[in-house]
Symmetry: C2
Subunit: 137 residues, 2 copies
């Protein structure tokens, strides 16, 4: 699977990277790019994850989000076991092509976080009286 889009071309000069039409991801030394995933309708931030070239190719091939799990060190078809599959509505890339933005619709119960919440960002960082505390939203 996912052979159509591999390998991605190597990044070119700055002008091509920033203004060109070619997707040339700048994978880091660990082979990963950062991936920001939001709800396609509300733009609510759901999660931040990582993709290697294979995960990115599979995401483009299938229209569903695949990531690289750094903790398990394996490809991760999001929702394969939980049913929380992320259907890709739109993918964007940033100026220097080291980050991707996935706008998705989440299947199953609509959750994203392994703690059971809809979003991984369920705590607000609050400054009160010189202290920092986390407050659940």
């Amino acid at each position: 699977m996912a052979t159509t889009f591999l390998p991605f071309p190597p990044p070119g000069p700055k002008a091509e990277l920033e203004e060109g039409e070619a997707l040339t991801p700048r994978f880091g030394p660990d082979g990963l790019v950062t991936c920001v995933t939001t709800d396609a309708d509300t733009n609510e931030l759901l999660m931040v994850a990582h993709m290697n070239a294979d995960a990115l190719a599979r995401t483009l091939e299938t229209g569903e989000a695949w990531y690289w799990s750094r903790s398990r060190r394996e490809l991760w078809h999001k929702g394969a076991t939980s049913g929380q599959v992320q259907a890709l509505v739109e993918m964007r890339v940033d100026c220097d092509q080291d980050a991707l933005w996935l706008r998705v619709r989440v299947a199953g119960d609509g959750g994203c976080c392994h703690t059971g919440r809809r979003s991984c960002f369920y705590r607000i960082v609050e400054r009160t009286g010189g202290q920092v505390l986390l407050r659940a939203d």
Copy 2:
């Protein structure tokens, strides 16, 4: 400056990390956490950047976004020269505390990207006929 919040406590066990009230950022081997910055009103994704402990402390202290510039290897008060200062409306942290979400209002001309655009994510990744092309939005 920014001595109030330093150092951040070291990350505790999983239960505290995920459900506790303490901000205990899990800085990576490079000393950085990923930071996702969105428009506070629309949640539009503006940029993805990184913070070290000092940048995070300064952001909490001043209510304006500070990052660590990986390319310049220096602290970066966003907007200090461009006027595109990011006033912090809300900060959130994710389940395992290795990513931050900044909801901001951008001063100056409202831009974020060094190319002059409002957002760094100005190109859509399109799949057409087995090919991948970037299209400006």
